[in-house]
């Protein structure tokens, strides 16, 4: 598998700890690569370097072996990009803007654009200024996809979309994946990358924490149960038995990754008022990658 995107030790320091520091990764042909991190972690800064908007202080970013800054115009022939911030030429209508972008990208065949418009149920007749955030986001997504690019760079693609459209977008990504498109997508929501990505990089405070295969992450991602006991003494007993359980308000919280059967059967012996389950949050996963130490 040859690499389409290669980032080597890029550093872009904006001062006060902002920016990216010594970030390296590569994305292979046909791979879907997630870039996960909280807001302000340096996701957009990385993408800007891949787009050739900014130059790294140190290190190099290449797509298809071409320098992202110097050869930006050439790279763009095969690349679709969705910016993280929505900003359009507001005085144009959605359709006008899409046609304008198609011409700028020298796309002759507009069938893919129309197909996408239908898929996202976009009515592009109104002025962009009057459109909702979600509708604008749809226009951005169509812009990125309409040239049937070989590489996709998507910065928080589902923000602003309603759940139905989010699902539709994920379906389209899976379709693209089948076609062999190389996809790089950033997000701060785990579920967004979970369904599509082969590998995921975690970034925090501008530093790459880990790059892991999705399958491994899913396996290690813990389920966290919050248990409400009927009787106070049973709660105390349970806490005594399980050192990894922690009281949380009047309840008890415990994370389980393996031994689900055992856990359920044991609980059956208690009088339980309520059990709730949630998945480990992104922040909690970070703690996991940091080996449990919290440096904040």
């Amino acid at each position: 598998m040859k690499n389409r995107i290669e980032v080597e030790k890029i550093t872009k320091d904006y001062g006060r700890g902002r920016g990216v520091f010594d970030v390296s990764f590569s994305v292979g042909e046909g791979e879907v690569f997630g870039f996960l991190g909280p807001n302000g972690a340096g996701k957009t800064t990385t993408i800007r370097q891949l787009m050739g908007f900014i130059r790294a202080d140190k290190g190099s970013a290449c797509i298809d072996g071409m320098d992202c800054f110097e050869k930006r115009a050439d790279i763009q022939r095969h690349l679709g990009y969705l910016p993280g911030e929505i900003a359009f030429m507001e005085e144009m209508s959605g359709d006008e803007f899409l046609k304008f972008m198609a011409q700028m990208k020298e796309i002759k065949d507009l069938s893919r654009m129309n197909q996408l418009k239908e898929c996202f149920e976009l009515d592009g007749r109104g002025k962009i200024r009057r459109m909702s955030k979600g509708t604008k986001q749809k226009i951005g997504i169509i812009c990125a996809l309409m040239q049937s690019p070989e590489i996709l760079l998507l910065d928080e693609p589902t923000s602003g979309l309603d759940p139905l459209m989010q699902n539709r977008f994920i379906d389209i990504l899976l379709e693209e994946k089948k076609k062999g498109t190389t996809i790089f997508l950033s997000s701060h929501i785990f579920e967004e990358v979970e369904r599509t990505c082969d590998r995921t990089a975690f970034i925090r405070s501008g530093e790459l924490v880990s790059v892991s295969r999705m399958k491994d992450i899913q396996k290690s991602r813990k389920r966290i149960f919050e248990i409400t006991f009927q009787k106070e003494e049973e709660k105390a007993e349970y806490l005594k038995k399980h050192k990894d359980a922690a009281p949380k308000r009047e309840n008890v919280e415990i994370s389980i990754s393996r031994g689900m059967d055992e856990f359920i059967k044991e609980l059956a012996g208690y009088e339980i008022a309520d059990v709730r389950m949630r998945m480990q949050t992104l922040e909690e996963m970070f703690l996991h990658f940091y080996g449990g130490e919290d440096d904040e």
């Binding site: 908007f53 763009q76 030429m89 972008m101 990208k105 020298e106």
Partner: protein
């Protein structure tokens, strides 16, 4: 030049051109209507009573011919100030807004070099300024032909307008360069517009009296001297070439800086 972008920009901003064309039409025609060979005398009396104010606005010698009159009342102040406002508005719409709002992110997501994109935007700016000047020139000639047939010396008048175009081209270059240097809209706008306003104020001040005469060396507006151009002064024509030359340089440097700089969009 990118034809698609060029077309879009024209469609988006031609209305500004129309508005300024209309305003300048009003002034040009009005000033020509006001010309009265006999009126010269009474204006002279008025000017003698408050010479500083008249000269601050570049209206030092009302002159006898229609050409002198037009130069004095239009080319000294009005036809500089209004087009400068026009230029500031256009640079804001063509360059500053795009970088500030991040619309450039979309333009750069196409296989077009930054140089090509900015060259196109600069081209639209220059073309609009050119059209404005050509329009006012033709309109003034037409108005003069109708109201005072044969009075306007057309050859000299055309040369004066070539001079005005040079000055505006230079000032466009100044505003454009600042819009390329600064990414923050406030600074880009402030420096560009600020420089133009400063140039104009310094010129006005240098014209009020002997005491401030030396100030004229501190404003590029001195390089455009319509009355001397009309009089066929060679130095005045050379100064025009300097304006055109530096104008080109400013645009060139601006485009170059823009293609090398970091864009946080």
């Amino acid at each position: 030049m990118n034809k698609t972008l060029w077309k879009r920009e024209w469609r988006a901003h031609y209305k500004v051109l129309l508005i300024f064309g209309a305003v300048l039409s009003l002034y040009s025609v009005m000033i020509i209507c006001m010309f009265d060979p006999k009126l010269g005398e009474s204006l002279k009396v008025m000017m003698e009573s408050m010479p500083q104010i008249f000269s601050a606005f570049g209206m030092a010698s009302p002159g006898i011919t229609l050409l002198d009159f037009v130069i004095n009342y239009l080319y000294g102040f009005l036809l500089v100030v209004f087009p400068v406002v026009f230029i500031i508005i256009l640079v804001n719409r063509l360059m500053i807004r795009y970088t500030d709002r991040g619309i450039f992110a979309y333009l750069l997501a196409t296989p077009n070099s930054r140089t090509k994109l900015t060259f196109t935007l600069a081209g639209v700016l220059c073309q609009m300024v050119l059209i404005l000047v050509v329009y006012v020139t033709l309109l003034t000639i037409a108005a003069a032909a109708v109201l005072f047939p044969g009075e306007l010396e057309i050859g000299k008048f055309l040369l004066v307008n070539a001079g005005l175009l040079g000055l505006l081209f230079f000032l466009s270059g100044v505003c454009f360069l600042f819009s390329c240097v600064f990414s923050e809209s406030g600074k880009a706008m402030g420096f560009g517009a600020g420089a133009c306003i400063l140039f104009i104020l310094v010129q006005m001040l240098s014209q009020v009296g002997e005491k401030f005469d030396k100030l004229k060396y501190f404003t590029p507006l001195t390089l455009f001297q319509p009355e001397k151009i009309a009089a066929g002064n060679r130095a005045a024509v050379w100064m025009l070439l300097i304006l055109y030359g530096t104008g080109f340089l400013l645009f060139g440097v601006g485009i170059r800086i823009f293609s090398k700089k970091d864009l946080s969009i």
